[in-house]
């Protein structure tokens, strides 16, 4: 799940596992596999960065969980 900013500066959390396409038209349009479109202020690079950071964080948490349990 990543935070993206919509055009009206509203922050929403997007399930990044559902992202199908990210286009820059030049506005960044995130199309989800459900067909829903979200128009974001961030560039596609920033969004990818966010996804990587989220996934890294996720796997780290998982590993920590294993270590503790």
């Amino acid at each position: 799940m990543i935070y993206v900013t919509k055009l009206n500066d509203e922050e929403v959390v997007v399930n990044c596992d559902l992202i199908e396409v990210i286009e820059e038209t030049p506005n960044t349009i995130i199309t989800l596999t459900t067909g829903k479109k979200i128009i974001a202020k961030e560039s596609s690079k920033e969004i990818i960065e966010k996804i990587i950071r989220y996934k890294t964080y996720l796997s780290k948490r998982l590993r920590e969980g294993h270590d503790n349990g």
Partner: protein, 265 residues
């Protein structure tokens, strides 16, 4: 000005008058204040009973619409949308806010402002479609008014004829007056039919045609605005919107584009 409405009115009056004047007819025989009063007065009183006062006044006023030519045609709307989509492609959706100021079409303006505000595409479609539904509803209401006038007209003509016949039958002492009074009585039926078939029903139909054209334009605008929001290519948008048009109009747009292309080159 809509030439069809004016031409139709003039031609209609001409043909009625010409038909009356044939075979030594006398126009004066066809003018009867009492008959006019009962058909027109009666019909409008009946519609006054049928509709709330504000709607009555509004609907009567709306008659001016049928003389007006529609302001925007499909080609213009499509060209405007392509222009907007070019801006959106170059400078982003937020740049549309400035472009929206130069648009006088309230509906398009509203759509663009919704897009700029970052409204979800689904919600934009919902809002604009709801607006169309209610515009259509209001148009249908006014058409319904004129259809009602068209219904009441002949009925009131009949009522006038009955009144004339009753008056005639009460004064039957002089048989030579039967013919003239009978013809006067029948005048109201004529007025009623003319009111319905020459004015009310054609007015209602013209309004229907105008309304349908306007709704189509709005549908084209919705499709176009949503495509702009989805960041589609201006060329693709053009092809998509052309699907709404008759082939003749499609060619016109393509020709205009070709000319513009030449001018730019």
């Amino acid at each position: 000005m809509d030439l069809a409405t004016i031409g139709g009115l003039i031609a209609g009056v001409f043909f009625i008058v010409a038909a009356i004047l044939q075979d030594k007819g006398n126009l004066a025989d066809f003018g009867q204040l009492a008959s006019v009063m009962i058909t027109f007065g009666g019909t409008f009183s009946a519609t006054l009973i049928s509709f709330p006062l504000a709607d009555f006044i509004n609907s009567v006023k709306s008659v001016t619409l049928i003389f007006r030519n529609k302001q925007l045609n499909e080609g213009e709307i499509i060209r405007k949308i392509i222009e907007l989509s070019n801006i959106a492609r170059k400078e982003g959706l937020l740049a549309l806010e400035e472009a929206a100021e130069s648009i006088d079409d309230e509906f398009m303006k509203k759509g663009i402002l919704l897009i700029v505000d970052g409204t979800d595409p689904e919600l934009v479609r919902n809002i604009l479609e709801t607006e169309i539904i209610f515009v259509e509803g209001r148009h249908k209401y006014v058409q319904g008014f004129w259809n009602k006038v068209g219904e009441y007209g002949p009925a009131w003509g009949m009522i006038g004829t009955l009144i004339g016949l009753i008056k005639m039958l009460q004064n039957m002492n002089d048989p030579s007056t039967i013919g003239p009074s009978m013809s006067v009585a029948l005048l109201t039926t004529l007025y009623g039919s003319v009111l319905a078939n020459f004015l009310a029903l054609p007015i209602a139909n013209k309004m229907k045609v105008i309304s349908e054209a306007e709704i189509l334009l709005k549908e084209v605008a919705i499709e176009g605005l949503l495509s702009i929001q989805a960041g589609e290519n201006p060329r693709v948008i053009e092809e998509k919107l052309k699907a709404f048009l008759a082939p003749r109009l499609r060619d016109e747009i393509s020709e205009d584009d070709a000319q513009e292309g030449e001018n730019n080159a």
